[in-house]
Structure formats: structure tokens, C-alpha cells
Symmetry: D2
Subunit: 342 residues, 4 copies
């Protein structure tokens, strides 16, 4: 059994981790911390867990965490980097679901996240947690920086085209939309039912924090600096990300075959049959990214569509997938839940 701790379990990625880990046969949940809710039962805050999780939130305490084999950080950015270095020294491995260790360039991080990084020396060691790209490095990592929700969908969507070298890399467009749970469990007027439940809008059009993360990842794949226009939108629903990607084709290629081939052996990437388009509801609660590719009017613009549950393949499910890899388990253990439809 892997002894697991969670730091910051009162948000949506926290409760989703609890849902997945409570049912994971190889995990023993030993601690979940929250300064604000210390002493409160987890299932009092999240009543879906009644009967499945008897833990209480405890105050963050390094010695408890140090006794774990693995600690997940499900905290806002700027938190994990304060205590991860110390924890790693005790031998505990870390999967960080926040953005703290996703960018290799500390200056870039500082520019997008509003201040200097607390432990830039760890940025080169941290392994970017997108198993479809970095499976082997994840296996041996002390510190995994889980890919962000938008970045997962956008990278999985563009990757086969970039690997194949068949698109113009300077004019990529990612038009993406996310359910409101992506904004976290914070008391903000913008995310009230009365503001966001019968509405659709773009946001962060001038520049979203996931842009440098996506550009870093796609440039790695392409072997050259790519350029992306990324416009996120807010959907009037809770879970789900849909990315619609556009690129200019520079070579003839069988797109359907390219995608099926690229993801043939991936347990959590599903290329739909030709002519079907993915729906967010087909992945609600499940750790899978479903993809489709099209070439409208047979012109030279290729369109890729990718869906995922932002809290599962876009966050907590991906984190558990990384854990399975790190601890040499079957990658699918605890992640075979079927999406809830309708």
C-alpha cells in the first residue's frame, strides 16, 4: 500500500482526488490537510464521501507528510513551492497539481504568476506530468508537476500534427472552453449561479497563464518554438473542457490514420471514429481525453477537437495516473470508472 497525503484538500481537485483515492486498491490515505477546516470531517464538507472516507482535515504538518510515500499538493499556485523542497529531502515524493513547477524558466514563471519563484533550483528536476509525453521520466521522478487542464487537452490535440511536421507552427489557434469548476472552490461573485450559469464569454483574452505552459510543451514536441493564440471561454456547466484547435496544413497526410496511430497504445486517449465529434459529457468523471480530427471542405485548415473532464484527466485523474506510473502499478488501477451519462 502506498501511504498518501494530500495538502489542501478543500478544493475541487482535492475532493476529486479523495473520490479516486478512496477507491484505489493500492492506496492508504493517511492525511489530508487544511488550515481553515482542521478538525472537520472530510465528508461533512463533501457529503458524497459519506461512507467512503472517515478522515478529518488536519493542520499542515511536515512530519505527518514526511511519513507518507507520496504527497499530492492540491493547492493554489504559490503554495507548494514553499514547502516542497523540505518535504522532498525527507524522501517523500511529490505530485503537485498546481502550476508551481510546470515552467522550466523561472523568469517566465515570475512574469505570469506575479512574483519570484521560491525554489527555482527545482524547476529543472521537476518532471512535467503529462504521461503521454513523459511516461518514463515520470516513473523515476521525485517531483511531478501535473499538466494543467487546458494544457492537457491542447497538447494532446496538437501533438500528432507537430510530431508529424505537417502544420505551420507559427499560426496555431486554440479556442477552448471550460466548465466553472476550473475556477476552483472560491467565493467569487463571477462564478455564482446567477452570473455564470446562463452565460458564455471569453476571458483572459490578452493572455492566460496556461499559454506559456502550452507553448513550452508544444515547442518541445515540435523541436522548435511554436506560436499559439489561446482564447479560453467559460461554459455554463460544472465539469468539462472542450478545445477546438486550428492549424494550417503544410503537407498532405491521412489525418485519421495519423491520430489513430499516434495514440494506439495510450490507455487514456481515445481517437473517435472518423466523422464523430467528441462531447464533454462522454468523459464526465472519467480519466480520458477523447479526440477527433477534421478537414472542413478539404481546405488547408485542419480542425482538432479534444474533450476531457478538467477535474479528472485535466487534474486529479492525471495525478493518480502519474502516481501509478511512479509506483510501478498498472497505469489504469483506480482509473477505470466509466463516465456518467446522462
Amino acid at each position: 500500500m502506498i501511504k498518501v497525503g494530500i495538502v489542501g484538500g478543500t478544493g475541487y481537485t482535492g475532493v476529486e482526488l479523495l473520490r479516486l483515492l478512496s477507491a484505489h486498491p493500492q492506496v492508504e490515505l493517511v492525511a489530508i490537510t487544511s488550515r481553515a477546516d482542521a478538525g472537520r470531517r472530510v465528508d461533512d464538507l463533501f457529503p458524497n464521501l459519506r461512507g467512503h472516507c472517515a478522515l478529518e482535515f488536519t493542520p499542515p504538518d511536515q512530519s505527518t507528510l514526511a511519513a507518507c510515500d507520496l504527497v499530492f499538493y492540491a493547492t493554489p499556485h504559490n503554495v507548494a513551492m514553499q514547502t516542497v523542497p523540505e518535504l522532498l529531502e525527507t524522501g517523500t515524493r511529490v505530485i503537485d497539481l498546481s502550476a508551481d513547477f510546470r515552467l522550466r524558466d523561472a523568469e517566465l514563471w515570475a512574469r505570469w504568476y506575479g512574483g519570484p519563484h521560491a525554489c527555482p533550483e527545482l524547476l529543472s528536476e521537476a518532471v512535467y506530468g503529462l504521461p503521454e509525453v513523459n511516461r518514463e521520466q515520470i516513473a523515476g521522478a521525485r517531483l511531478v508537476a501535473c499538466a494543467g487542464c487546458y494544457p492537457t487537452a491542447v497538447q494532446l490535440g496538437f501533438m500528432p500534427l507537430l510530431k508529424a511536421g505537417v502544420i505551420d507552427t507559427s499560426t496555431l489557434i486554440a479556442n477552448a472552453a471550460s466548465g466553472v469548476s476550473g475556477a476552483g472552490r472560491q467565493a467569487r461573485i463571477d462564478n455564482l449561479v446567477s452570473e455564470a450559469s446562463d452565460n458564455f464569454k471569453a476571458y483572459a483574452v490578452e493572455g492566460h497563464r496556461h499559454l506559456p505552459e502550452i507553448e513550452q510543451g508544444l515547442s518541445d514536441v515540435a523541436g522548435e518554438a511554436i506560436r499559439l493564440t489561446f482564447v479560453p471561454h467559460l461554459l455554463p456547466m460544472i465539469r468539462g473542457i472542450h478545445a477546438t484547435l486550428y492549424a494550417r496544413l503544410t503537407a498532405e497526410v491521412d489525418l485519421q490514420a495519423l491520430y489513430e496511430e499516434h495514440y494506439r497504445d495510450e490507455p487514456f486517449v481515445d481517437v473517435l471514429p472518423s466523422g464523430q465529434w467528441p462531447q464533454t459529457r462522454s468523459v464526465r468523471g472519467a480519466n480520458v481525453c477523447r479526440l477527433a480530427v477534421a478537414r472542413p471542405q478539404q481546405r488547408d485548415t485542419v480542425v482538432v477537437m479534444a474533450v476531457e473532464d478538467n477535474l479528472v484527466k485535466g487534474a486529479s485523474g492525471q495525478a493518480v495516473q502519474a502516481m501509478n506510473i511512479m509506483f510501478d502499478l498498472d497505469e489504469s488501477v483506480g482509473l477505470d470508472g466509466i463516465a456518467l451519462l446522462p
Copy 2:
């Protein structure tokens, strides 16, 4: 392994059965029938099942079904009663999710369901599939008539009070509300997003078909004919039933203790701590009914609140629970999924 067939798998209780049974370790799904969709892959209709279910719909065929140990009917009412008698004779057991075998009185059935019953001789043999009432009879049954969605919530809610004999049985009120999935997967204007997604209304106020079923069940529990006013409402969401029950207290009683005691050993009924009220989201996708009881202003009206996922504890989950009982499995096998929240 139990060899299982499903008749009529293209509706919402059908896809929910598939979700639950695909993950059930003791079940081998051998056939799912649909006249209209014969030859189509199940996961083409329900893309959440991609990677989990390789079956195709087949035309209804008695010999295939007769080779099963158990057949679920997930059909509209008036269908199962046409072929169940013949199937039972082959030794195959049946769990009917429709209303065909829920009422013991064939005349009452005919009055509410618009025509004579096709096999009234089976009505007395059929066991009403509410495990919290009929667990033992279910174990030995050839034919189980799964309790309806509203009836499950209303009966579980009123039962402790009626057993204890502490309320006036002639003035019961059940004010209930259901998500739209309860109306089934049928092309009806009334259930379009543009009609029902930003709306709330009562319906069937003059008399809903679940009324005689509930009155039959509650009268059995009470040991006398009870009288219920039942007003269902349509919620602008997909899954979930919430019942708010009202009764006049005729004796002093510790309500919280009464409920906790009554359901102490039930794996799928959860009595909330005093002062907490159930939410439909706490049971989304899970086979559990959560209950709370209150006595506002300490007056003589008791209020009970019950929630369930109408497709799980109100239909397909309950059917699997009955199957587990019938085949002497642990009642919880395949039913331990945690509700999806948020």
C-alpha cells in the same frame, strides 16, 4: 459469473445498467436487445461506454435471453408483460425496471396504465423490488418488480414513521421533484433544453402513476390503508430526486434516533446527522438514498427529506442491488461507486 441480458437498452436506465454491469466483477453481459438499433454498437449510441463495452444491440430474441441466468427489462411499461411469462418458463430469472409488475391489483393496474394487464396471474408472484422492505423475498424470487424512482424515495422516507405508528396516516403529503432523465430518452418537445432547462413546474397534479404504487407500499408498511397527496415537479437538471414529506405527528418521539435506528444496518440508506439536509448532488451516480428528518418550530408537523439518483437507487442501481441479493452476492458488489461532486 452471472450471464445477464438486457431488454431495451437504449434508454437511460439501460445505459445506466450498462455502466454498472460493465464494471461488475460477477457479471457477464451476453446480450442487449433493441429492435430499432439492432446492429449498432452500444458505445456508438452511448460514447461514455467506449473502451468498456464492445456489445452490439441485437433484435429481441427469446432463445438468446433464455440462455441467460437473469434478464433485466429496461423497457417502457406494457412491454415486459408481453414476454416475461414465456421467459420465466425457461428458468431465466427476471428483474423488471418498468411498472408492469409493481401493483398486485390487476384492476388498479389497468386503470392507471391504460389497459388490461397481459399476465395478471404473475402479479401475486412478482416480488416488489425494494430491498429495504423485501430483502428476503427478493432472494428467492423468479420475478422482481423494481420499485419506481419516486416510490423508492417516498417509501424510504415515510417508513420509519409508519412502522413506529407515530403519524396520522390519512393526511400524508409527498412533494417531490425529479430531474428530467426520469422522463426517459424520448423525443418530446416538453423535455427539450429550451422548454425544461430554465423552468420549474408541477405536473400530473391530478394523479401520477406512482401514486397507487406508493400507497400500496406504504399501506403494507403501516398495516392499514394510508392516504397520500403526491405532487411531482420537474427540475431543470438531469439526475436526482428530492422528496419533501409532511405528516402530522400523533405521538412524541425522538425523530433522529428513530431514523438512525431504523436504517442502522442498511448499506444504501444514509441518515444524515441532525440539522443537515440532503442534496441531490451528494448522490449523483451513487446507489444511496440520503435522508433527514426535522420538526420545524417544534410544532406537530414532521418533515422528512429524501434524495436519490433516480437512475441509480431509483432504478438501475436498485436493480443491481436486487440481482446481488438474488444471486447471493454481497449486496454492495459493483455498487460502491462514489457520487460525483461537484
Copy 3:
């Protein structure tokens, strides 16, 4: 032209007042106050008003308000009572949309609203702003305490039965449900999309603040102290209240005729034809309460259904209706907008 001011215009009743008053031909909007948003354009906060309202929020200032003929308070409770006495002395009339002046009994108010009332001497003068009950007193009032959202629906629903004296007044039940906008424009986790948009629950079961208001109003109508069990629920939508009312009949009566007769001359109460039940979407954005009455199974429980838009007939529309009466205008001026359906 009536010179109108609004205190506290940054909430949902505030923006709804602005929508109605901007289009009202007899109103000149002269000031809208907000301490927090002073200096900000109103249409910057509420973009639906772009092109319709050029005002800026100003800090609360008694002299500006004193220059108005009428001031609406669209503030949380406990605010209006601090400054209304002073304002009334300047000759300005007041319509308070909060609960500060709705209860005649200062002790009762203190018990339900968490502290002593700031100007109990005004409680007897304040006219309860439900035009269908108090039209004449409203006409001459200096201070109108607009009826609450739930109280409007529940009182309009029960009134014909109580006036006719045909029900048991000690066992009234009001099962009501409201859209989330009723909770106001406040940053609270409970009202986030991810918490409340795919959920249904009862709340304040032990006692909601609208209970004493409703009991006061219904007792006035009945001429005796009535007793009500009131259970509010939270709907996963923005606008709309639906009340389902239950009472025991004590006399034979033609219910449909009773309701049609009672509301024959009311411009904003609509009794549906027999056998139709009201839907919240039929009143979205409109100043109307639609009602229906039923007697299921011809038993002795009568069921009344009432719907309204909580922000219009349940708040701001009702306030404008009161204004029209106070200033001797046609009661419907500015209130003839048709509900938005779908």
C-alpha cells in the same frame, strides 16, 4: 416626472429596478448609491444596461436622496432602518425592498433578524407592500415595506381560501422553491455554479425568516392566527419562485371559480384555466403571479401552485407597482413587459 433615487443598487433587485425604471415613462432616475462602487458607471457593472442608463454609482448622501420624490432601498436587511427615519422627515417617500419594515412586532423582528430594530416606532406606520391586499393604504403611504419574494407567492396562493374560510388554518403547508438569484449578489461558496447549478436541496428547514412575515399576512387575511409549515428549497436556475401549497378543506367549494372570482380585477395575478399548472418560465422577467388550484383524487387536500419571478413580482416589479399606486399612475405603467420564453 417622479424623481427617483435608489440606495444600494449593486445587487440583483437593484439592477432589476434599473431595468424597469430606465424604461418607465414617468420616472427620472437621479441617483443610485453604492459605497463600494462609487464612481463606477452602472453599465460597467451591469452590461445589459449599456445604452439605457448613463448613471454612475455615488456614495450614499442624504441631501441627494432628500431631493428625490421617492427613494427605493435595495439593501440587505438592517440597512434601511438606519437612515429611513431621517429621510422621511425631509418629505421624501420610501419603498423598502428589504425586510426592515415588514413585521409590525419589533420583538418578533429582533428574534428573526438578529438584533433590536433601529426605529420600531415606524413599524406601525409602514404599509406592507402587497398591492393585492393593501392597495389603498399603499396609495397614501410615506413608507412601504415591499412584501418578500416567498411571502408574495404564498400569500397570493392561500388568500382566496382563507378569505372564503374553507380550510383548516392550523395545518397549512407551503413547499416552495426559488432560483439562486434570491440569495443575492454576494460572494458565497454555496451559490457557486459548481455547488448549486446541478443540485436541489431544502434549506432553512428549521425556520426561514419569511415564516413570520407570511404568518402575519395570512393571519390578517384569515382574521385569526394561522399556522404554517414552510420549507424553502434552492433551484438550480437563476430566476423564479414556485410555491406548492397544501391545506385541508373544511367545506365544499368550487375552487376554480373561487380563484377566478377573487382575482378577476387584479392586473398582475393570473389564474390559469382549470387543469393547467403554472411554470416559472411563463413569468421570467414579468410582473405577474400565475396561480392554479387542484384537488387531487377529489380528496380533502387542496393544492395551490403559484409562480412568480422573484426579482419582479417578488421584488422590484412589485416595488414599481407600489410606486405607481403611490403616485396615482396607472398601476401597469412600465410593467407590461412580456415574459421571456423560451
Copy 4:
């Protein structure tokens, strides 16, 4: 008073026309036809109209329609073209909300709409009903072909850039999303609450019928054949279209000034202040298209966002706007309703 008839009033554009025309001071509604619902009161089908519209549906009858000054066709495509020629000969003018007269090229029409056009000789006479482009031609038209919902948003969004000649016209991208009401009031499983209310997906990726309409309009504006990739998506809400448009800049230009200048005198196009992005809720129920323009990272991709209510500025409101122009009324008469927010 303009005597107005409506053909096919049982859909969503029909009820929206009724909402707008019932309140229009210069219109006398004399007939609304429906074969299926003849004899039924309009407000029985659409309860929001109770108290505002006493009409009954009548069977389609040319003599009644011929007595009108103007007839709106709110029918599916393929219907208007059957009877419009005959009606025009009687001197009645026509505004067609369907697609029958939007394309000038009969062969193109036949290819996209599945069969030959019934009166190709009228295609050149029909005026494309987008007032911001064709105001003068609309004024004198006998037959106006109202612009489609997506085409309105996409054309208003791209127009300033194309007029200014500052973008590459061969790589335009329109990523658009619509509420479900755009799919009409038809009994289709795909648009049920349980299918579409907690979901987001692209559809018609290989080619949507609005593509040739948009390309025709944008090519007219550009003075050359443009090329567009158009991917529509289905939003889990009722009303609202959001278009996110992408183009490659080929010249330096002050984008904000360009847009403000272009639409300075348009009553129903609103360019937001720099740095604000439009929200669909800001136009719910209102006849306005709100626009914003951005240049992320100051790179060479320009992003335009446009929102409209698909049933108002995208259909019935635009039709009334055209009517006002045709009958020499102030263009805003009957169209000054403020969007419903929240």
C-alpha cells in the same frame, strides 16, 4: 398601423416575434398560421403571452395573408419559397426568417439545402436582411431574407476588418457557439435536457449551412472571395450566440478605433470599451450585438468576439428592425427592451 401576419408561429422565432410585435405600437397582428395548431389559442401554447395576445392559430390561408401589409415567415427552410411568389403578387411585402432567399446562387442553395429552389427567379430580388449592410435596399424591398443567426454575429464581427482591408482574407476562422433554441422547437432526442444541458460539443464540422451564407456576405464586403473555416458548437443554455473570430493582420491598425468608428451610428451594434469581453447574458432578450476586439500578445492574430441573442438580433428582432426600415418607422420602435440580467 401596419397589418401583420405570421406564417408558422409555433416555433421559437414565432413566439419571439409575438413577444416583440404584441408590444409594438405601430403593429396590428391580424393572423398567425399553423396547420397543426389551428384553432388553439396562441397563449395556450406559449403561456408567457397570457394577457398580451388573444389570437388563435389559423390554418394557412392566402387571402387572409394577402390582406396584410407585411407577412413574416417563421417557418423551416423549404416552406416560404412555396407560397411567397403568389403572396408578393398581391402586394403584400414579406420578411422571411428562414434560409429560402438568403443565397443569390440557386445552385449553391440546392447543394446545401437538399433540393432545387422553388422560385430561383426571386433570389436576385430578395434583399439580404442585415440592416448594418443593406439598410437602404431593405427600405424599398418587397422581399427581405433575414440574415441567419450565426451569419449575423460573424459578419458584424469581421466587417470592419474586411472593409479596412487589414487582414488575410483566405484564412478566416469563426469558432461559434449557440444556445439550444437555435435548433428550433422540434422533438429531437439530441436536444433533450438529458442530452444537451450538461454538455458541450462541436457539430456540423464538415460544413454547416450557414457557411455559404457567411462567405457570400463577407465576400461582398471584402470585394473578393474570402475563405472561412466555420465550426459551430452547441452550448448548454437556451439563448445566446458567441462568435470568436480569428484573422491574420496584414497591416498595422488601431483596432479599437476601427471598430468604434465603423459602428458609431448603429443603434444595435455595441462596441465594448477596450479590454472588456462580451457576455451572452448581456444581450438576453435584447436586439443588440455586442463586440470586442483584441490582439493577444501583440502578435499578428486578431481576435474578435461577438454576442447576440440568436432569437432577437439573430432572428426575430432583426426581422422587426427590417420591418421598421421598410415602413419608414424609427428603426428602434418596439426594440428598446433591455436585456434580462441576471
